[in-house]
Symmetry: D2
Subunit: 265 residues, 4 copies
Amino acid sequence: MPRSPKPIIRSDIAYSTPERISVRGKDLPNEVLGHMNLGDFAYLQLTGKAATPQQSAMFNAILITLVEHGMTPSAIAARMTYAGAPESLQAAVAAGLCGLGSVFVGSMEGACRMLYEAMPAEATGRDDVDFDAIARATVASYRERGVALSGLGHPLHKPVDPRTPRLFELAAQNGMSGPYVKLMQSIGAEAERVTGKSLPINATGAIGAICCEFGFPWRIVRGFGVMARAIGLVGHIMEEAERPMAVEIWQRIEDEASAHLREPT
Amino acid sequence: MPRSPKPIIRSDIAYSTPERISVRGKDLPNEVLGHMNLGDFAYLQLTGKAATPQQSAMFNAILITLVEHGMTPSAIAARMTYAGAPESLQAAVAAGLCGLGSVFVGSMEGACRMLYEAMPAEATGRDDVDFDAIARATVASYRERGVALSGLGHPLHKPVDPRTPRLFELAAQNGMSGPYVKLMQSIGAEAERVTGKSLPINATGAIGAICCEFGFPWRIVRGFGVMARAIGLVGHIMEEAERPMAVEIWQRIEDEASAHLREPT
Amino acid sequence: MPRSPKPIIRSDIAYSTPERISVRGKDLPNEVLGHMNLGDFAYLQLTGKAATPQQSAMFNAILITLVEHGMTPSAIAARMTYAGAPESLQAAVAAGLCGLGSVFVGSMEGACRMLYEAMPAEATGRDDVDFDAIARATVASYRERGVALSGLGHPLHKPVDPRTPRLFELAAQNGMSGPYVKLMQSIGAEAERVTGKSLPINATGAIGAICCEFGFPWRIVRGFGVMARAIGLVGHIMEEAERPMAVEIWQRIEDEASAHLREPT
Amino acid sequence: MPRSPKPIIRSDIAYSTPERISVRGKDLPNEVLGHMNLGDFAYLQLTGKAATPQQSAMFNAILITLVEHGMTPSAIAARMTYAGAPESLQAAVAAGLCGLGSVFVGSMEGACRMLYEAMPAEATGRDDVDFDAIARATVASYRERGVALSGLGHPLHKPVDPRTPRLFELAAQNGMSGPYVKLMQSIGAEAERVTGKSLPINATGAIGAICCEFGFPWRIVRGFGVMARAIGLVGHIMEEAERPMAVEIWQRIEDEASAHLREPT
């Protein structure tokens, strides 16, 4: 296959020498260990920059929100996998992560993208942006195309998703309640007005908006959910190892699913 | 399949009601968000207990140590996967995690297990334990069975793995430099004495020992590496999205691997 | 969460009793083993029907086409994973499969979907369909929307993808060279006419068209590539176990990627 | 890191040129497509050799046996994953495969390994081997070490696993009922004699023995289960797409698992 001159393979994340381990320009043992918490180090790993105290507070809160959501399909998949391959704990976490797609967790990127695309370029840094007008146009456009608005509504948490006011409060306290948060709120209000339904901004919507305030590319936002949920899944596997439920789930489902085949009617 | 009375399916990790989300007995929005960092929340998720300031410092340091190790096989697998399925970021992280097994990262559990098994039950809480004697017996037993000692030696970091003294320093500062750390150090010294080789305690060995001080079951220790590395892999995927190397790696390997088949000699 | 009456959990694929194992209504030991080949059994598993000799010939050929494509990103990811976790062969295959997404393999479903959507409902079973007119409309519509046509062009196989004429020949021999194959060929010709470029129908396009002839839902077509490639990846892992390359790849990439960080300019 | 002279990266599996695609030395379009079934091509991919008619019959039967086992933990994990990420079908298959470890499927390699290790080197090609004596020694050694014998017993299929007599029948018909099959049968009989329990040779044991007759390395035998099950999982996902059960399973498990947390006693 004819190719252009050999491209460079290059990464700016980390390097090691016999006596040194450096991540994002910092000496890991001496400048990082004992000086940062895990959320801050995640911020450094992803952005190449040290988090300010405000960024640290907000980013840790976002990640923590995404760690654990109960006995989700993802947690069940991880427990099922662990039951078959307890010697491969890493594969059980991997199996649980594989389902964080367009339906769960991955949906977060939708809110982030919607806000980036809706916000006019000239709005940056101005005080007199008419967020309600942008919200009206956005809601109308989504409804016209028959696409669900991202970040609104929750099957269980009604009329308010309890994470949202707290995340917005933290955003305000940390100087991150900017135009994207305002636009998300306008879109939520407009959607409720137009549909007549209760459509609270859910955690996904709040996090999507705050990720815009950080300036994260929307394509990476799903990754925050993935890395946070990895922590949650290790918790589920630890519990599964001590008090298993996977085999019982399996037998119940198998019994029920094939009952009509086994027992002639 | 005849079965005993239907067992209970029960998890103590989390629950949700319309207005409440609770993890490990804490109200997530109000008692956790803004009050904890990600490492502390991981500790809560895994143990059901809030970390003390000392446990927080130590546990965050352990996890941070495990986030990023450069362009590892795991990072390469994640980047390769992302090149084929950029819409499935979660699957790229999952692919990268799948290789954290007996050779890399999973090796951590070996040091933890070795120390638990070597430490006599009656040693707990006593001051006069002869760690050198236990170390001699342990090293002799591993050598007899032809099994490599866990947590010793490193292909690159010689004569010292720079993470180890820093992790042990943090353990001392946080009241966790107890019998398992001492035993690991005795085993390291004994192994160097017996083999005549430079066998520094590596990060794996240091973390294994400190995990014993925490009292973590050895089976879950690999999980710390898995959840930390998930963060590192999202960083690699973020870089890959901006400045890709996967296709170049692929083409070079493919060209070289099949050259002898394509070109008749 | 209030829910509608408990839905039924039911699967029609298989069941077991102490003395019987039944898959898709057939007694596995007595009616399947020794009476079918693997491709035919895959057809039975997926469709619930026994393949005719023609369907058997065609479906086996499709799956075989998808097994092995050389040292792909997917094969590299599997080998990298095996190097870290040789005790978890299944996780290495899983890692390799994770990247069969929109860029590789998953692209197959695009051709299938394009053809289903382009074919007018009233065309079924008629002889006088104007495929060239449909092709013109399809190509124009894709170009207008700036979307690449599925199943056309190949970076290496020019001016002809050698798999395509053979797959179409087998389709003709087995009575499956129907309207979708004709439409795919018309679209290919029209695309070459309009762009002035060499755009051979690639294996993806040929398989997509034949999958339409089978009547497979486009959403499952990617699955054929996934299950076939699982076979290919086991072959790569078997070779990797005997003559490894993963560690060498890792060291080369790591050395090159971080050279600019290690060596001060 | 100082390294020895750059090792060669080389694979003997496949290569492509613009007009040719070759796998294991065969021209894929012209020598393979239309001339082989999927099981035979798997044999070629793995061994580099064309299967004889006997090997073809036997290898296809082994793989087919491993495709589908009902609503297993692996199938449930795949369905759970598909529910969250329907756009990533490949990740759902990958998640399902991750659990094919030491407890399920992977157990197959145990029988294969046990037989290889038990069979004395000098037995090869001789008629007067005392299989009962080898079986007595093997069973005694496993019982002494407290290790379960591989390939014996089944929770459901009692007193006979219906796949085993059929697989052994096919082995006899195809000239593969050699010393390893005889030894497996002797071990089964001896285990029943010593324990007084019904311990039928299960499918795992039968396949393990026949894999020894083929001469497959025991480390790759798990791979047969992995590649076969990939087919089965695509079948489950296809059914899940048409008639979903994942969300219902999730809600039932979540409701039950956290009932004690939600409802104060």
